[in-house]
Symmetry: C2
Amino acid sequence: MGKVADMSTPARRTGRPRSAEADRAILGATRAALVELGWGKLTMGDVAARAGVAKTTLYRRWAGKNELVVDAVAAVFDEQLEVADHGSLRADIEDVVVRFATLLERPETKTALMAVVSEATHDEALGARVRSAIVDRQKRLVLIGRQRAQLRGELPGEEDAAAAARNADLIFDVIAGSVVHRLLVSAEPVDREWACSFATLLLHGLAAAGSGAGIAPAPEPARGHDQKPAGSV
Amino acid sequence: MGKVADMSTPARRTGRPRSAEADRAILGATRAALVELGWGKLTMGDVAARAGVAKTTLYRRWAGKNELVVDAVAAVFDEQLEVADHGSLRADIEDVVVRFATLLERPETKTALMAVVSEATHDEALGARVRSAIVDRQKRLVLIGRQRAQLRGELPGEEDAAAAARNADLIFDVIAGSVVHRLLVSAEPVDREWACSFATLLLHGLAAAGSGAGIAPAPEPARGHDQKPAGSV
DNA sequence: CCGATTACGCTACGAGTCGTAGCGTAAGAG
DNA sequence: CTCTTACGCTACGACTCGTAGCGTAATCGG
């Protein structure tokens, strides 16, 4: 199921196989523990007890809390990957926003995602794992939506492939970031009204950004890139 | 100096006063420890040692790691609150984006913010503290920017005060969320090019969203096809 | 059926952290 | 000077971590 980084065990043909049911039990127990305890108080021993598994079994499969939680959450994201064609770009955007918000409102994901991202700032391998297991799968939805919109004539086709990729990344960061921030930082609901306002904002931005200029791209040399870090450490 | 939630100690006129220098040393040591160790491995004992302070002193002032880190990070955000008038809405947006990104690229904030937000999903008091100490101060920049743009005639004035507030919240979530996501989740740089693309997206969205409709807000459950943007932009 | 191999459950362990209590001392307030 | 509070220090029980060792269970190749 999850087990994203198990490519490293290609040769294991003999011996007792690992219990697939233990995997399910462990990941489920991890999600349950996340809901009740939160990231900070979640312990490996507790997860093992809930799963009816020895603590050592956990460590045989995952290096630690971080990796375990990534896989536990990734399994949830696997469920929610389909998105129907709603006939218009606006409807598709609103749908993906509400859908993503619903996913984030689940207490398991809510707690875990931010914690894992935080840990990933020191652990590049963990970051890569998060991106491949969770982020990239969501990004696919943006690509699908754009393709549909282009077929409908709602968005202009891309001239440059590189620019298209950059644009898709931008849009994904805007959508996912806005929803996450609204929900987890501002702690306010992503209801249909908000989704509608957000979609309106995005639609106009997209229509313009795709068709080239419109508002002057700002004079470059005007100001330097330099900030004042005002170091305090 | 954060100390956001010390309103609860009004009556302490007698006795030895708390060392203000200890506060500075502790918060500085916390930031340094965050850089080196990250959230996960940061311990109260370590912070105390770095600050040259007894561990008990830490617990006399903060309930635990969460509260301590919030204040330590909030102090950083205090430094970076000014924003100059760059003459155009686009320039102001790009500036605030780059500025915010610079702040988030500092290893202290990078690590701490997400971790604290994660913990806040289980601790409403902590969430409120984060919002009042960090988020709301950033939100002020959005309000200032909008006011300037309205004075310049770049944005229409608001009819409804409630709608104006909702709109400001939306814009703030979009800006902050997008930058955070780009930087911490996608792990890609917020350079001038990205800021420019983002500003373009946002500018067109703003111009349209402010002037009322433009793209039909879509019917509720049974969504049909919508017309394309009326090109008022 | 039989060894070889691997996974599992269990126990135990040292190391490290947590948060608190107790004590004597330092520093302002009245 | 006395009262009150903060500080540094030490020590403590409780807990978590991650690992090691052991006997047992399951599966594969011959």
